[in-house]
Symmetry: C2
Subunit: 192 residues, 2 copies
């Protein structure tokens, strides 16, 4: 951010009065331009125990496998965003089920929300930003070719929870960009 | 948004090539300025069965009661945001527990995340944007003086779940600004 979106004057970075963080501030019109994390919403589409993955046709992580997911838009809900991204990236129609993973990624200002989902039919295909779409058995997932730590941890939880037969919501923080990214689970504690 | 934050030229609103939504587009440098929903994170701080509420000292809804909550910032997690807002608005230190309500508000481009929380001590006080802070018994909550539908529905669920003795995560969409706001619950369906 170099110019004020309200008046077009150059932007300064400093801590406004009464605040405690550096902001993008316009000294001409006085506007403070706050920036906030964005939500990435997506699906884990399943069909008879297999999971749909997309091979990315865009950077970053071109050629790697991912679950269909993308930035939630204004004027939609997280469930609508997850279904829309699945339609755009995999041309797949899903019934969106439970929220399954909720990850904070504070180093890149994102919050991931991945939903379990049921494929409605097998009429899927690669979307514009996708090279190919495939259905994978959870025992033969392409672990070494996954695009992001969020996808890795979502699929790892799915595999674990398949073995115990139930799928509680999983929440945690992921810090780091690649295979060495740290995962810090948030344990659910129901007692007060 | 009237001017491009990248180059300072005037902004147009139109659908970019390959897109299907109106965006803020700069015809000078070519940048597309996306806008996305913001997360509001907050706490339901409890002490021996009572709930801490803040009376708002700012607009909107000046003078009405609310749970401590506010916009999640870059470089923090939702749990950190909820604890920070509770410290800022109620000068209260909490142990943040489970995520309890997750509401989409597509008409104002917000996603609420309210966490159950345990007050660490009774050393709370009104923050800069708060008129007063009080501990309320759940049977005598100020239902007619609550600030927002999100607060109303979070406290309504808390009251219901107290009576059954467990507190599953509650997810839904809220559409509308005042007491007549519609609430559309999202039922959890675990089966695939």
């Amino acid at each position: 951010m170099k110019f004020c979106s309200n008046c077009g004057a150059p932007i300064a970075r400093r801590i406004p009065p009464g605040d405690n963080r550096q902001r993008h501030v316009c000294d001409s019109c006085g506007m403070v331009h706050y920036q906030n994390p964005r939500i990435v919403a997506g699906c884990i589409p399943e069909w008879e125990g297999r999971v749909l993955l997309c091979r990315r046709g865009i950077e970053p992580r071109y050629g790697r496998w991912t679950l269909p997911a993308g930035f939630m838009e204004n004027e939609e809900t997280a469930v609508e965003a997850a279904a829309r991204e699945t339609l755009e990236e995999a041309r797949a129609r899903v019934e969106v089920l439970d929220l399954y993973t909720l990850f904070n990624l504070p180093h890149i200002n994102q919050v991931y929300m991945m939903f379990r989902a049921r494929l409605i039919d097998l009429d899927f295909a690669a979307g514009e930003e996708t090279l190919e779409v495939g259905l994978f058995d959870v025992t033969t997932l392409p672990w070494d070719e996954l695009a992001f730590p969020t996808i890795h941890h979502t699929l790892r939880f799915l595999l674990e929870d398949r073995s115990i037969g139930h799928f509680p919501m999983r929440m945690g923080d992921i810090v780091g960009h690649d295979e060495r990214a740290g995962f810090f689970p948030r344990r659910n504690r129901r007692q007060l």
